[in-house]
């Protein structure tokens, strides 16, 4: 292996410095703050307080993000599958032009749109009533956990579909043709032939979506009420209302652990795959 050249190190130094200052230092500070007790020594008091006040919210966050990720996977596979395997050209053209639009909309704008769309007297309910599908008295507000999941899935599906459709387009068409020639239905081709070949890309997209959804503040704050809510809202509340950085950092560490577990699962799968090749 060649000795790292001085010039090479100089070239990456600014990037390393930025990561160090803007990520590693605040991370270290946050960890230190979470594990420091009120008297200054090491203690788990902040974690105890975080658990006492927000244990329901931790479970709620996990539930929301896991369900959103699974639904994102489902819809992305469906749309990417249609784009790759469909034999109706106009459907493919329409879908291809429409599915990417939510990509360009920031989370907070999506949250605001959902607030007016999913409310009890919102656009969705009013349309359903006008169409005669439901009675006015049956209209319910979806501005709770369901609204958060709908917003997240709506935002993340284009992202994962983009990656997945690209991966599906680049696999060897011969495998699909072979499957179709032997009489497999398109659904079977999708699940048994195409998906295993693009599983790696799907996993990357889902892990990125998971971590993104874990970090969003605007959507749970605007779409749902405050009980129960996601960890990001609790962290913001702790800091804004009480200046209680210790508990906020403890909640942050819990978020790191959740994100870290998912990243570890992904890396293990990756390493095993590398070892197989």
């Amino acid at each position: 292996m060649a000795r790292p050249s001085f010039f090479g190190l100089l070239l990456i130094a600014p990037a390393l410095a930025m990561i160090g200052v803007l990520f590693l230092y605040p991370l270290g500070f946050s960890l230190a703050s979470a594990f420091t007790g009120p008297d200054g020594g090491a203690s788990l008091a902040s974690f105890q307080k975080a658990y006492e006040l927000y244990s329901t919210d931790i479970l709620f966050t996990l539930f929301i993000v896991i369900v959103s990720t699974l639904l994102t996977a489902l819809f992305s596979i469906a749309i990417a599958g249609i784009l790759t395997l469909s034999e109706t050209p106009w459907l493919v053209a329409v879908l291809r032009s429409l599915y990417r639009w939510p990509l360009f909309i920031p989370f907070i704008v999506a949250a605001q749109c959902m607030r007016t769309f999913l409310a009890k007297n919102g656009l969705m309910n009013n349309s359903l009533v006008a169409l005669g599908v439901i009675e006015p008295i049956q209209a319910t507000s979806l501005l709770d956990w369901r609204g958060i999941i709908i917003t997240f899935v709506w935002k993340q599906v284009p992202f994962v579909t983009l990656m997945l459709a690209g991966a599906m387009a680049s696999i060897d068409r011969a495998t699909i043709e072979a499957g179709r020639n032997l009489g497999a239905s398109r659904l079977r081709v999708l699940i048994e032939l195409v998906l295993p070949q693009v599983a790696q890309t799907l996993l990357v997209g889902l892990v990125l979506s998971f971590v993104t959804m874990l970090s969003v503040l605007s959507v749970p704050m605007m779409v749902a009420g405050s009980q129960p809510t996601m960890l990001t809202v609790d962290m913001a509340f702790r800091i804004n209302s009480y200046g209680d950085y210790a508990t906020a950092n403890a909640l942050g560490v819990i978020s790191y652990v959740i994100a870290g577990t998912v990243a570890w699962i992904y890396l293990r799968h990756n390493v095993r795959r590398e070892a197989q090749v």
Binding site: K120, S141, G225, Q227, F237, S241, G243
Partner: protein, 377 residues
């Protein structure tokens, strides 16, 4: 080269024009109506009386969180030995008590021309902390239950009746919990005071840490109660849902209620009810940071804001608050019709019977923390 010179010259011109004028920075906690009051009414009035002065209003957000931000800034600048960025601050009671205890505020009321116009004990006592001389009340506000009389024929008169009503009519009542606005916080402290037995002790003290245990039954009831209510995003959220007909009843600030009605954001048939044994109200305070460069201008600003004319025209007429200075000082400055309209739904005797103040600081914090532990979790 020439373009760069022009750009530099223009930038320098911009710099000088702002530097020559004196700027008065006012930071205010609370909802958008607080910022609008200074931006649209008080600021221009002050600028007219003091040519060459520019008033800049900054809002820091609703609820105690907004006051917390002002406190953090003043504390950080105090520790660093730097002068304060804000010349006048408008803060809630809890933060005012903390700031006085930490010597972050200037004592100015004794030399203020309008200082003697307020005799209520809210000017000297802020949730149990002695703040006399450091603050002037800007207004006195009150929370009450807003309801739609077309949907609700028999309005509950007390917390007990409200609890039973909500059980029979689920998802018709909404409040914002303790996050996002003080109207929900007021409802919760009123609930604890109503159901825990010793309301007077919560308001006046003395603080007894063991009192927390007595609230367990009240909080368990509140958890049950919450199952049948809608949790709204905040003060404006509750009013918004009332407007859309998504809820029929909810706690609101009286001033926000009347202002929204006047602006057409709330139907004109909505009414208010102050339920017994009481719901809290709060003054917000004008204060001057200890180390500010513009303290003379700041005190003149506060003198203008607490003068009878401005209190009558700005506080009562425009923004529907109860005045910060004593009401008798407004006699002759306000027409009777405006005064009566303020007391239309909540007459003065109901206000004096059921208008309470928030619990003292330590109890207040305990109630909020117990809510998060026992009701929200």
């Amino acid at each position: 080269m020439r373009k760069a010179l022009y750009a530099a010259g223009f930038a320098a011109l911009l710099f000088t024009s702002t530097a020559s004028a004196q700027t008065l920075n006012v930071a205010t906690a609370g909802d958008q109506n607080m910022v609008d009051y200074i931006k649209d009414y008080l600021g221009p009035l002050f600028e007219k009386q003091h040519p060459g002065v520019k008033v800049v209003a900054v809002g820091t957000g609703p609820g105690d969180g907004g006051s917390q931000k002002i406190y953090e800034k003043l504390e950080a600048q105090n520790k660093a030995g730097a002068p304060a960025d804000f010349d006048v601050v408008v803060i809630h009671q809890k933060a005012a008590g903390t700031m006085v205890q930490e010597n972050l505020l200037k004592k100015y009321r004794d030399s203020l021309p309008t200082g003697k116009l307020v005799t209520r004990d809210t000017a000297t006592n802020s949730l149990g902390t002695d703040v006399s001389g450091y603050v002037m009340p800007m207004f006195h506000s009150q929370t009450a239950i807003a309801y739609n009389p077309d949907l609700i024929k028999e309005v509950p008169n007390s917390y007990v009746e409200l609890r039973d009503w909500v059980k029979k009519n689920p998802k018709q009542f909404g409040y914002n919990g303790i996050k996002g606005g003080m109207s929900g916080v007021a409802f919760v402290t009123g609930w604890v005071a109503a159901f825990s037995g010793d309301a007077a002790k919560l308001e006046k003290g003395p603080y007894d840490a063991a009192e927390k245990a007595a609230w367990d039954k009240a909080l368990a009831d509140l958890k049950e109660f919450n199952k049948n209510v809608v949790i709204t995003p905040g003060n404006a959220g509750t009013l918004d849902m009332l407007n859309r007909g998504e809820i029929a009843m909810g706690p609101v600030w009286v001033d926000m209620f009347y202002t929204w009605k006047a602006e057409g954001k709330l139907p004109p048939n909505m009414r208010l009810k102050l339920v017994s044994p009481g719901m809290p109200g709060q003054p917000m305070y004008y204060a001057v940071p200890a180390k500010t460069a513009q303290d003379k201008l700041a005190t003149e600003f506060i003198a203008l804001a607490t003068s009878p004319e401005v209190q009558a025209d700005g506080i009562v007429k425009r923004f529907n608050w109860y005045p910060g200075i004593d009401a008798k000082n407004l006699e002759g400055k306000l027409d009777q019709a405006v005064w009566n309209q303020l007391f239309a739904d909540i007459p003065p005797d109901a206000l004096s019977a059921n208008g309470k103040s928030f619990p003292i600081g330590p109890y207040f914090n305990d109630i909020l923390e117990s809510y998060e532990k026992k009701v929200a979790n």
